[in-house]
Every structure is written in C-alpha cells, then in structure tokens.
Amino acid sequence: MRIALLTESTLTNAQRGEGGWCGRLVDGLPEHEFRLYRLLPADRPAPPTGVRGLHGVHELPMWGRRPGGRGPTALRRRAYTKAYEELVRALVTPGERAGFGPALYRLAALGREDEALPAFLASGHAHRALERIWRMPGADTAGGQPLVCDVLVAADLLEQCLRPLSAPWYGSGPAGLGGADLCHVVGGGPAALPALVAREVHGVPFVVTEHGLHLREQYRGYRSAPYRWPVRALLLSFFRQLTEETYRRAAVLTPGSEYDRRWQQRCGGEAARTRIVHEGTAATGRPAAGAEPEAPTLVWAGALEPGRDPELMLHAFARVRAELPAARLKVYGEEGAPGYLAHCAAIAGRLGVGDAVEFAGRPASPAAAWESGSAVVFSALAQRSPRLLADAMLSGRAVVSTEVGVAREVLGPTGLLVPPRSPRALAAACLALLTDRERRSRLGLAGRLRAQERFAVEPVVGAFREIYLDLVSRYPAFPARPGSQARPFARPAEYWVAGPVGGDARADGDATVEEPARTAAGPALAEAL
C-alpha cells in the first residue's frame, strides 16, 4: 500500500544513523510504497533524509522567510477573515474550543482554492482580525492584554505554523496525499496538519507516532522563550488545540512509552486507539560489555545540566566513597548549561572526592562508556525518553536510576529505582550493587535481555505491519465522494498487499481495478468476488 510519512526534518536526519527511525521502518517494510513529506527549516540547506527505498521526497520550508505570493481578492478576503477569526476565537475563548477544527479545515480549503493563504496571514487584514478577537470580552487574557507588538509576533508565528495548510500536497495524483492509502505522522505538531487536511478532504486515515511529545516540549520550551505572556498563551493554546484535534482524529496513536501515553490520554487520545510501540534501536545486536574494570567504578552519562542532576550523583558518590574508599566515578557528557562543568568539579572538590571523579567528556561510543564501569547510574530529575536507559541496559551492566518519567517501565525489575533528590537512597543502591558482584551480573543480564526484548527493531516493524493492515481494512478503499456512501470493506486487506500489479491499476477507476486485483490475490479471492 502507499504510505505517506509526514515529519519535521529533525527527526529523520542522518545524524541518528541509517535514516533514524523512519529509515528502519522503511527498510523493514519493503512491501509497502513509502513517500516522505517533510517540513524543513527555511534558510538552511536541507539535511539529506538518509532513508533508502523511498518512492519520493516532498519538502516544504516551514520556518523563516515567508514564501512570496499574492493575497486573496477583495471578495474572497471576507471568507478568509471569517475563517481566521473563528480560528483565533477557538484559541483565545475557553468556551469556543470546538471551533478549532472546522476553522482549520475552512482555512485549508480556501488556501487550496487560490493559494493566497500565506500572504493573507501576513497581511494587515489578518492582524486586525486577530486583534479584534483577542481583545473581545470573553477572551482569556488573565495574564495581560495583548499589545500591538504581541499581535505582530503572534500573527507571524501563526503564519509559520499554518504553512503546511498551503503545501502543494493535497492532490489525489500519485504524489499527493489523496493518492496515499494512509498517512503516518512521525513526531506530531505541525507535521500532523497535512494529515488532518488529507483526512478531511480525502478520508485518508492516519497514524501518529511520537517519541517525546511535541506538546510537552512546547510547554517546556516556551517557558524560556522571549515572548510576552499573551503570545505564549495564544501559541501554546494553538499547539494544545492542534494536538487535541490530532489525537481525536488519529486512527491509531503509537506513543513510545506508557509515560507518553498518559500525556496523550490527557490530551484526548482514546485508550482504545492507543498502542504503545517502543522505539526500536539497532544497538540490540551489540555484544554485551566485556570484563568489569579493576576498581569498583560507577558510570554516569548525560548532558551536564541541572535537569540531569549530576550534583545528586556527586553527593551520593561522596557517601559511597566513605564506605568503599576504592570506588571511582566516571562522568560522561558535555556541558548542557554554560559553566556547569566547573560547578560540578567544584562540588566534587568540596566533597573531598575530586581525585576519584573523572569528567570524561563525550565518550567515543556509548558502548565504551558503559564498559568502563561496574554499574551505571542515572540521577536525572526527569526521564522523558527511554533511549539512554535502554542503551545502558543493553550493555549488560546493572543500572540504578531515579524513579521518574519512563524509568520504572523501562527498567522494571531489572534495575534499582530510588526516589529523586535523595543522596542517601542513591548511595545505598550504588553500594548494594558495588559490594555484590553476583547480584550485579544477575541484574545486568536480566536488564540486557529485557531491553533486547522490548527495544528491538523487529517488533516495531511487525507492529506497524499489523497496524497498517488493520487500518486499511477498516477504512473504505476509495474515499467517499460527495453524494456517495463510504463503504467499509470495499476491498479486502489482501488486495492492498497483492503487489504492484493491483497497485498501479488502482488509479484508473473502479471498473479496471477488479481484474488485476483478482488475478493477483489468487483464485480463492477471485471466487469470493
């Protein structure tokens, strides 16, 4: 079947090796025809996708400079303004949230007709409409009324976020989303906009895969953004409405962890349509780490920043050292906040463990980092992604972690969990591991097996093979045209994997399609038809 992968460029870039997650998915499902649609930061050259075996790559510059183009004619401007006002009203008036989706689709429909949407969104007419609705009684401006500069900044940001609505992707030809059997949104956020529009226009179902929720990252990022309260409120409201609309319309949600699933459920993702698919990693094939070092050594890895809390590790290590003077600590990772490395070194010196702590910087490879210790410790205040934990478990070393975020579900019974911000508990757990070689190796082996089981690539590919087939069997093969009834099971699932013969002929229309499908799917099916 034809699958459209929608993503923002950062997720598929080649730095994560072999095309990243999308690359592994495309490699694993060669029977399907993938096209990649990605949103790019403008002004910067696009990184190569790194994904092999794609049938096409379509790109849309999203951030930065506005593409040229004329605004709508005076007659059509009324319709544009009305739809835009509806959208803004849904964002700023708490009681009008339901209008978000319809307003979005209306804007998209207008933009498809005359391609004047970006120019309209940047025009003075849009500014006036935005201000009028934003300053109306009933709008949520508890944190301050918007000023002229807020209107300008917010209109700019909205224009950039809504750019995918005017992408030239919505045709029903082979390169358009209308010609796809389903859309797969990787990463959420604005990348879901084309999928929402394709679902509205062509009835194409879509799957949403998120590793690290886009909405949560927006909430975290906007706290330090240089915008005033009203702009923050409007934009975060936009992202929340967009996310809720996405979760509501998505046929299947596949979060990467139970922790993310809770957030998705909070934002309207139904439990019945949610299936957790762990992020597969190619590191499962890596051999286990070799012999342990001579001295009992703890390894800590991660960016050096307050959120990762290396200070807790140092305080705990001081207690470990008091009991076990031979113990050593290796800290891997680069500075996440300026000056934080010196700060940590000063703390280590003050605690009297400066000579036993080694700040080793960026390791040659994660495997080398894990191998250099007897046990691995994570002391972060928040663990949003299972990636680093899983990688450490795959080394076969025992893992101690603070019990936050995904730590419990990833480690399970194969590691030690301690409460965050508690040096005593962390030190006790580290000591328990360092002084008991047998327990260490037992936990390490169990952790490696658990990670190999959960984070292998094959289950991910298998899960999506099932999800894709399940989806197309529940949705009509040909979207309902106006006036005709959508028929589920119009095509059996086998039809879609029947091979390229059926796949090519499909575009020609109903009459010609039957024959190749029959021959390709075998005599039993032909009889049934």
């Binding site: 944190g143 301050g144 000023l147 002229v148 909430y219 205040l381």
Partner: protein, 330 residues
C-alpha cells in the same frame, strides 16, 4: 479523605508546593504547563500521591486553579533597531548617492551618465545588502524578511532604484552641478530620516491597539518629509547658493524622492519604489533629449523637477497609509 489527617502531615500539603512554585503557577498559561514543569522538577506519579492526587495532571490543575494569573512585572518588548543604525544608514545613503555623482560631474557627457547609472545601480544594491545584514537583530530574527528578496535572488528592485537615482543625479549634474551635489548629500539625510522613522515605528509596538498605533504614527511621515525638506534647504544654502528657482525645485523634489522610496521599500513594496524612481528618471531623460526640451521651451532643471514631482507625489500617497500600520516596521 475521611477523618483527621495523620499527625505529622500538614492539613494542606499542596500549600507548600504552591509556595515553592508560586511564580511558575502565576505565569502558567495552562495546567499542562505546570504539569510539565512539575515533572521536570522530579515529581512523578508517586510524588503526586503525596499531595492526594492520582496523577500529576490533577495536582497541576489544583495549583492552576488556586493561584491567580499574574504576568511578570516587566516583560521585555521586542527590541527596536539600535540608535547606531542611524549614522550607519546615513553613511550607506551618502555612498549610494555620491558614488554615481562622481562620473556624472568629472567626465560628464553621455559616457559619464551611463557610468553613473551603472554605479548607481551597484551602489543601491550594495547599500541594501549591507542594510539587510545589519538589520539582522541581536535575536537573530530577520527584520527585513518581507522587504528583501530571498538569498541568491537578484535584487531587481534595489538595482532598478539605484539606476534611476544615478540617472536623475547625472541629469541634474549636467545642468546644475551645485544642486546635484546638494541633492546627493541630501541622500544621506534621507536615509537617516527613513531609519529614524523605522525606529520610531518599532518603538511604538507597545501601543495597546492598532488604532492607537495609527494615531501615533499618523503625522510621522509628513514630519519626516518636512525634516528632509529642511535639511535640503540648509544644504542648498550651503552648497548651491546662487541656484535659480527651478534648480531649487529640482533639488527639493529629487532630495525627497529617496526618502519616500526608502519608506515604501521598508513597508514591503520595494517594486513600487523602484518603478516610481525609474519612471521619474525615464521622464527626465526624455525631456533632456534635444527635441522635447526645445519644443516645450522649459528650462532643463524645471523639466527635471516637473517630471520627478508626479512620481514623488504618487509615492507619498502610496507610503502614507501603510506607514500608519505596524506591519511596515518589521
């Protein structure tokens, strides 16, 4: 929760958390923002149970409901262009106008005029490029995003405007060198005044509504034009004292044209500015041909002023309404 709370636990455990995170809760736009921040600070589902909530979201909603919203006392406004941009703009303006004047006065004649057109085009495009580079503010945002063409594209508008300016100056220099010098130096003040107008408009971003912004900016462009006329008068008195009345008229019109063109360009219509300047230049060139000037019997400088006056007035009409909108000062 029935009965009295166990001894040792406070009756209202959320209170402590609320006091610790008061600023966060006051500035939050949504309960989910508080939930994300609480999770970042190490609070997990078990932690929420300590505050008698099933999960972090319920706790965040309680915090959001219990604290009234209060934005930070002094929120930064988007920064305006720095003051040092004004002399820089004057420098670029002077360069763009004095460079084409050199060949127009020294060799003179048709070859000097052609060279002036070429130099004017080059200098105009170069000045725009430099300005765009300086316009990238400290926050890294491109302020001239709408006005400037994309990277790698040929800046046709800037080239056309520069060429037209060069031709006008060459024609004026052929008949009245003193007035031409004054007009070219006036190019510097035109650029400075345009930069001041831009900065003034950016600083009015703190206006409450678009209507208030409009009323504050309504007389900014007329004032800017008056200031430019005053500067030109001063320059004319200093440089070209014994110029006839038609020469004065040409000086004032040609000196104001760059200001209006710069304002229209900044408002996001560089094409309109270039077309107006080129129209004026083309009209002046036709009048300067031996035939038409002879038939009309007009003095050369008078013809120049008359042909440039129409485009200048059109540009002024084209620049005034957008100059009262905030979108023109990005």
């Amino acid at each position: 929760m029935t009965g009295t709370p166990a001894s040792g636990t406070p009756a209202d455990p959320v209170r402590e958390l609320l006091d610790a995170n008061r600023e966060l809760c006051e500035q939050a736009v949504d309960p989910l923002e508080i939930a994300a921040a609480l999770e970042d600070s190490g609070l997990a589902a078990d932690g929420a149970a300590r505050y008698r909530h099933a999960d972090v979201f319920g706790l965040a909603e309680e915090l959001y409901a219990r604290v009234p919203r209060r934005p930070p006392a002094r929120e930064p406004l988007p920064p305006a262009e720095p003051l040092r941009a004004l002399p820089l703009a004057a420098l670029y303006g002077a360069g763009a106008h004095l460079l084409p004047l050199l060949p127009a006065t020294a060799p003179g004649g048709p070859s000097g005029g052609a060279l002036a057109v070429l130099l004017g085009a080059g200098a105009g495009a170069g000045a725009d490029l430099l300005r765009a580079r300086c316009g990238r503010g400290a926050d890294g945002r491109d302020r001239t995003a709408d006005a400037a063409p994309g990277r790698g594209a040929v800046p046709w508008a800037a080239l056309g405007r520069g060429a037209g300016t060069g031709l006008l100056l060459a024609l004026l220099a052929a008949t009245d060198p003193g007035a031409a010098t004054a007009a070219a130096i006036g190019g510097a003040s035109a650029a400075a005044v345009a930069a001041w107008l831009r900065r003034f408009g950016q600083r009015q971003g703190a206006a409450a509504t678009l209507g208030e912004f409009r009323s504050r900016l309504r007389f900014a462009l007329p004032l800017a034009v008056l200031a430019q006329l005053a500067a030109l008068t001063g320059l004319g008195r200093a440089v070209a004292r014994d110029t006839p009345a038609t020469g004065w008229a040409a000086l004032l019109v040609l000196g104001t044209l760059p200001l209006l063109a710069a304002v229209v360009r900044d408002a996001g219509r560089p094409g309109a500015a270039a077309v107006a300047v080129l129209t004026a230049a083309a009209g002046a060139a036709v009048l300067a041909l031996p035939g038409p000037a002879h038939w009309l019997g007009a003095s050369p400088t008078g013809g120049l002023a008359a042909t440039a006056l129409g485009p200048a007035l059109l540009l002024a009409g084209c620049a005034w309404p957008p100059s009262t909108r905030p979108g023109a000062y990005r």
